[in-house]
């Protein structure tokens, strides 16, 4: 099985790729438009430096050869959402090529990282179509992988790894990410065009693997074709013929020239699975746990890197896990360490504690004495005898009881848990 991806990722710039219109996606159609992104005669493109810089960062983190000088081509095809009837894009002149993305068992080759413009948004109606050009000209990077992915699991891992890597350069792979998927179980390549979203990408692959698998099993070959994905039925079907290479008729984009990329500054690349491996081996944490914590969380990576080794690993991890439940943006290293200490001390982290730490206030947690705790437990269990019965049937009920008591009396769950068995025993004995 051979699977390759062409993923079109929107770059987080303020203005569009070739014009100064805002990239903000607003509800009202045709607000952020100008003669350039509408393809009006007489207008011409002017290249956005930030788009190229982010594309360079992506190419760098995906270990590509990065071109010192880039240029663009015109790819000609006719569709109502394409204002000039050609898309300004890249092929051999692309900013990145020959890179790789490491997943568990292999490196997935990256064939090319190319910069291109997004077409407009088109809404199908019965007897016409409605077009919104707000999206037209938003900068995209198309990430083209080699067909190195050999299973559904590898596909899932490759996609999530890629998303995580992009997250660390500030590129969010949006819900609406568009991907072309090549899958061949036989000799010929089947292309599924324009799958929207990550989840659909997996559904499309699942269906297609099954469909082609059945054909192969009958001793036949799946045909070379272009298919489309139906989100409702989660199936793929043979689709309108797209232009062939012959028909695209690529030419150099003569309204642009060659652009130096060496002056564009990109930060040190952060590769999350490499970071996870480093932290887990340095401090003896579980790789999987660390990776899960940091995949889409810069703050966690930073806190973890700086706190590991200083504290008990369980406290660090559980504090990080707790933090994920709350709005933890703005928690610095100092605040985090306070939380770890509290956590190690048996304090359950709550939103109000997190907010308190964020605001820089001194956060103190009132701890009850053992007598107070014992009294509370005894009181509740005496009031509701059924709890004790239930506990006798199923020991797991203890967590529920602890929760009830903690909430009702404002106690720390750990403190309650420490005493409850003793109290239950004592009550049973009586």
């Amino acid at each position: 099985m051979k699977i390759g991806l062409e993923m079109h990722v929107a770059l987080p710039t303020k203005s569009k790729l070739f014009c100064s219109c805002s990239t903000e996606q607003v509800e009202e159609p045709n607000v952020n438009i100008c003669p350039i992104c509408m393809g009006f005669p007489g207008s011409r493109p002017v290249l956005n430096a930030e788009a190229v810089r982010i594309a360079k960062a992506i190419a760098t983190v995906l270990k590509c050869e990065v071109k010192d000088k880039i240029s663009f081509i015109r790819k000609i095809y006719f569709y109502p959402d394409l204002p000039k009837s050609f898309q300004i894009t890249q092929l051999s002149e692309a900013i990145g090529s020959k890179g790789s993305l490491a997943i568990t068992d292999k490196d997935v080759g990256i064939r090319r990282i190319q910069i291109e413009e997004d077409p407009a948004k088109i809404v199908r109606q019965d007897n016409y179509s409605l077009i919104d050009f707000n999206r037209s000209g938003v900068p995209l990077v198309e990430i083209v992988t080699e067909p190195d992915i050999a299973s559904e699991d590898e596909l899932k891992e490759a996609v999530s790894t890629l998303r995580s890597v992009l997250y660390y350069i500030g590129v969010d792979v949006e819900q609406e990410v568009k991907t072309d998927l090549n899958i061949s179980l036989g000799d010929e390549r089947v292309e599924i065009k324009n799958v929207t979203g990550v989840r659909n990408l997996i559904y499309a692959a699942e269906y297609e693997i099954k469909r082609q698998g059945e054909i192969v099993q009958k001793g036949k070959q799946p045909e070379k074709e272009t298919r489309s994905f139906d989100e409702q039925t989660r199936t793929t079907k043979s689709s309108r013929k797209k232009e062939s290479e012959e028909e695209y008729g690529f030419i150099y984009e003569p309204d642009l020239t060659d652009y130096e990329t060496s002056g564009l500054k990109v930060g040190e690349p952060i590769i999350p699975h490499e970071e996870a491996a480093r932290i887990s081996s340095e401090f003896g944490f579980s790789y999987k746990t660390v990776l899960e914590l940091i995949s889409f969380d810069r703050n966690s990576l930073s806190l973890l890197s700086k706190s590991a080794g200083k504290f008990d690993q369980k406290a660090v991890i559980s504090t990080l896990e707790d933090l994920k439940k709350f709005d933890s943006t703005g928690i610095g290293q100092e605040g985090f360490e306070k939380l770890v200490r509290m956590s190690a001390d048996g304090v359950t982290i709550t939103q109000s504690i997190v907010s308190g730490i964020k605001s820089g206030r001194e956060v103190t947690v009132k701890r009850a004495t053992q007598d107070e705790i014992d009294a509370a437990i005894t009181e509740l269990l005496t009031k509701d005898r059924t709890l004790l019965e239930k506990y006798k049937e199923n020991k797991n009920v203890v967590n529920f009881i602890v929760g009830q008591i903690s909430r009702k009396y404002g106690l720390q769950p750990k403190d309650v848990l420490d005493r409850i068995k003793f109290i239950i025993q004592r009550m049973s004995d009586n």
């Binding site: 009202e28 569709y79 019965d126 077009i131 003569p254």
Partner: protein, 90 residues
């Protein structure tokens, strides 16, 4: 050029020609391609493609969003429906 090839070319250009135009243009196209073929006999040695006649240094634009001053003037060229631009059926 074979008729089939010419027809595919027309399709790719999104052009439909009426009968009189078809014969005339097809004959012209054949003659002009033959005329172009004279470059086959001229060698170009090590010369690389000149995409422009002079060297043009690439200058980037800063990522500063700016609103186009006459959006209304753009849309007056189009037909709109609920602020969308009307286009053909897909």
């Amino acid at each position: 050029m074979e008729k089939k090839e010419f027809d595919a070319l027309l399709e790719n250009c999104r052009l439909s020609l009426d009968e009189s135009e078809y014969e005339r243009i097809k004959a012209d196209v054949d003659e002009i391609i033959k005329y172009f073929d004279q470059i086959d006999s001229i060698g170009t040695g090590d010369y690389k493609e000149a995409f422009h006649p002079v060297e043009i240094p690439g200058e980037y634009r800063n990522d500063d969003p700016k609103k186009f001053e006459d959006v209304k003037g753009i849309l007056e060229n189009t037909k709109t429906h609920r602020l969308f631009v009307l286009g053909p059926k897909i």
